[in-house]
């Protein structure tokens, strides 16, 4: 799961959906805070999952909460400034201890590109995907950051290609090539589908499925407005953009 962005309603729906579908282990790819109205609750929930064995990574919005200066657009910067007032020391300490990358068997988890992970490069098309794929030897890399689900791969002959994943379809991550899966966003999807997005890897069969989960957008949007955050942050949840 990636890019939850303080959206309690979306994370709750995704965790329930995952539990019902036999997910045994969670990886959170970062960006717990920013944009949404429940950053504290989201971080507490992720902390509890980490205690039960989940992996959690650092995202650029999480790093920004701890940083002094922020290079972001106005709405995002306003959300970061507000988020700083919402987190307690324990939550800040948790963020401060998060890693940029985690290697797990032959998989790599990272918030943005595997190429210079701390620079937060977006993986949006073939060129940026190729840079990320060339920066690692991992059989499969899982990242977020763009809020748009996508799948890239490179064959043994060095051909790079992209694919728009179809929800609920199991995609075999064949051993003959290497893969880069960009997981969509739980809390603020931007691919014109407002449903929360996450992905499930069946590591025994090596198949990946992208999942869409409808959630209470009204509730999440109402809280964003009540917190006095920029109106665009609530409106875009309904558009999924």
């Amino acid at each position: 799961m990636s890019d939850i962005h303080g959206n309690r309603e979306a994370l709750t729906a995704c965790l329930e959906h995952a539990a019902q579908n036999g997910v045994g282990r969670y990886v959170f790819l970062g960006d717990y805070a920013g944009y949404g109205a429940d950053p504290g609750w989201v971080i507490d929930t992720v902390m509890a999952q980490v205690q039960r064995g989940a992996v959690a990574l650092l995202g650029n919005h999480d790093a920004a909460v701890l940083a002094d200066d922020v290079a972001m657009n106005d709405a995002a910067a306003a959300a970061i400034a507000w988020t700083r007032t919402q987190l307690d020391d324990r939550q800040r300490a948790f963020i401060a201890g998060l890693p940029l990358t985690v290697e797990d068997d032959d998989r790599l988890y990272v918030h943005a590109s595997a190429f210079e992970p701390g620079e937060w490069h977006y993986v949006t098309e073939l060129y940026s995907a190729a840079k990320s794929l060339m920066a690692t030897q991992a059989h499969a890399t899982f990242c977020g950051h763009t809020h748009v689900p996508a799948l890239f791969h490179v064959s043994m002959t060095g051909k790079f290609a992209s694919f728009d994943p179809v929800a609920r379809v199991e995609i075999p991550l064949t051993r003959q090539r290497r893969w880069l899966a960009v997981i969509g966003s739980v809390g603020q999807p931007r691919d014109r589908d407002p449903a929360a997005c996450y992905a499930v890897l069946d590591d025994e069969r090596d198949v990946l499925s992208y999942v869409r989960v409808p959630y209470d957008i009204d509730g999440a949007a109402r809280k964003i407005r009540a917190a006095g955050l920029p109106a665009v942050l609530s409106a875009r949840l309904f558009e999924g953009y």
Binding site: S155, T157, A161, F163, V166, V169, P172, T174, Q176
Partner: protein, 471 residues
């Protein structure tokens, strides 16, 4: 794995090699067994060394990916794949003969060509419904099971419309088999199920005439010719090919996919109803198109395929076969009007639909029914006339509508069997009001709803008198 030095008795991941089979172009095949399993199995092992031949490597990757998610009687059942270091695919061994073995006997009689065509078309339709286009259909890739059904094999060049197209991404040149490749595949379009219908048209042409419509071009540069050059009409080779079969074959071989059958099921439907095939100029064509037509087509031939791939399921959804079951009894007039309204609504949303108007003539159990009425006419004639009269105002082109009177003792079973045998997608049927007799015997529509394997719409008329009574 060293393919050259495999021996009978050797065990690979629990599979015991029994005996080698005839090798294919890019793989060797072994009959294998596994303790505890009765399924006859074959292991396909690619003839490659690592990094050597991209088409073999990618083809193997694709076949493992696609076969693993196909089901049903028209594909070999998938069992297992090996890993990267030791690649293989284990699948069901199909007892039967390849369509290639029939080529020695060509030309085959039209009825046999149609029968084989129906089988392959049903297998294709089943494949297309599972989101897969074969894209390398040819006689050696179709096995006729000993029990009759066609089984498609070798999915190394296939495409699943919900999975990455690894073949398209690996190769800049078109891939396929020279005699069978469709014109749009030459332009590297790999998203159209009608490409398989073209290849099936080549097979039918071959079976009916003993000749290949486009010869045996091996170089991809020669494949481009079929973007403008039409094949000689089958009757040029074999005058015993009836006009309806020439019509069907040439329609499959149209250069523009939009002029071919919209689905393999619609093709099978025509092959199952030779007397109902709508004949066009294709049926009696005696020569190839003239120089000018061909030259113009060549000038206008597209240089490349569409940028965005089509969706297999989207194309199929536009081209269903709809069956309307009509009761011709005099007191069912209102119901027939309601059925016409319902059919109009269904057709409005499905532009490439075909409509089959069906009436069941109930026969007695003893089979002593007269074969002609008191005026000596075919007893079906009047019913066919009435079906056509009913359908005259429907918004459907004459070439997309057919009329059928079927006999049977139990009308519901007759309708259900017919729908299954012709791959009907949607049945529209009327339900008559309830009566003591109907409650006792059960209604036809209720049985069709309960037992048909497709969508069923039941149409009723408002019973004015009974609703008035309720007030």
């Amino acid at each position: 794995m060293d393919v050259q030095h495999l021996e009978a008795g050797q065990v690979i991941d629990g599979f015991v090699l029994e005996k080698p089979l005839d090798p294919g172009g890019m793989a060797s095949f072994w009959r294998v067994s596994r303790p505890g399993s009765d399924l006859p199995m074959v292991m396909k092992i690619p003839l490659m060394r690592r990094g050597e031949d991209p088409i073999t490597i990618v083809g193997f990757e694709v076949e493992g990916m696609i076969l693993a998610r196909l089901t049903g009687p028209h594909v070999p059942r998938f069992v297992a794949t090996g890993d990267f270091e030791r690649p293989y695919i284990v699948m069901e061994f199909i007892a039967g003969r390849s369509v290639r073995t029939l080529l020695e006997r060509t030309p085959l009689p039209p009825a046999e060509v149609a029968e084989i065509g129906v089988k392959i078309a049903f297998a294709l339709h089943d494949l297309h419904r599972q989101h897969v286009i074969h894209l390398d259909l040819k006689p050696s890739n179709v096995i006729l099971r000993d029990d009759g059904e066609a089984v498609l094999i070798d999915f190394g060049l296939s495409r699943h419309d919900q999975l990455p197209d690894l073949v398209a991404e690996e190769f800049d040149d078109p891939v396929g088999t020279g005699p069978y490749i469709a014109p749009e595949q030459v332009l590297r379009e790999r998203g159209d199920p009608r490409s398989d219908i073209f290849a099936l048209g080549v097979i039918l042409y071959f079976l009916a005439t003993g000749e290949r419509p486009f010869g045996e071009p091996h170089r991809a540069a020669e494949w481009r010719r079929r973007l403008w050059r039409d094949p000689p009409p089958p009757r040029r080779w074999n005058e015993k090919v009836p006009p309806w079969l020439q019509e069907v074959i040439l329609r499959c071989l149209e250069i523009d996919p939009a002029r071919r059958y919209a689905s393999a099921a619609q093709l099978a439907f025509d092959l199952q109803h030779p007397d109902q095939v709508p004949l066009t100029e294709r049926a009696t064509r005696s020569h190839r198109d003239g120089f000018l037509t061909v030259a113009l087509r060549r000038l206008r031939a597209p240089k490349r395929g569409p940028l965005r791939p089509r969706s297999v399921s989207g194309l199929l959804a536009r081209a269903p076969i709809i069956m309307v079951a009509l009761d011709l009894a005099p007191d069912a007039e209102n119901l027939r009007e309601a059925l016409a309204d319902a059919v109009r609504r269904v057709l409005a949303t499905e532009p490439e639909a075909r409509l089959a108007c069906v009436n069941v003539r109930k026969t007695s159990l003893m089979g002593l029914d007269p074969t002609a009425d008191e005026h000596g006419r075919n007893p079906h004639l009047q019913r066919l006339v009435e079906l056509k009269h009913w359908a005259r105002a429907l918004p459907v082109a004459p070439a997309r509508i057919t009329y059928h009177v079927i006999e049977g003792v139990d009308p519901a079973s007759v309708l259900i069997d017919y729908a299954r045998n012709t791959r009907i997608d949607h049945i529209v049927i009327g339900a008559r009001g309830s009566s003591p007799m109907r409650r006792l015997l059960g209604s036809v529509s209720a049985k069709v709803v309960a037992e048909a394997s497709c969508t069923v719409t039941v149409v009723r008329t408002r019973d004015v008198s009974s609703s008035a009574k309720a007030v």
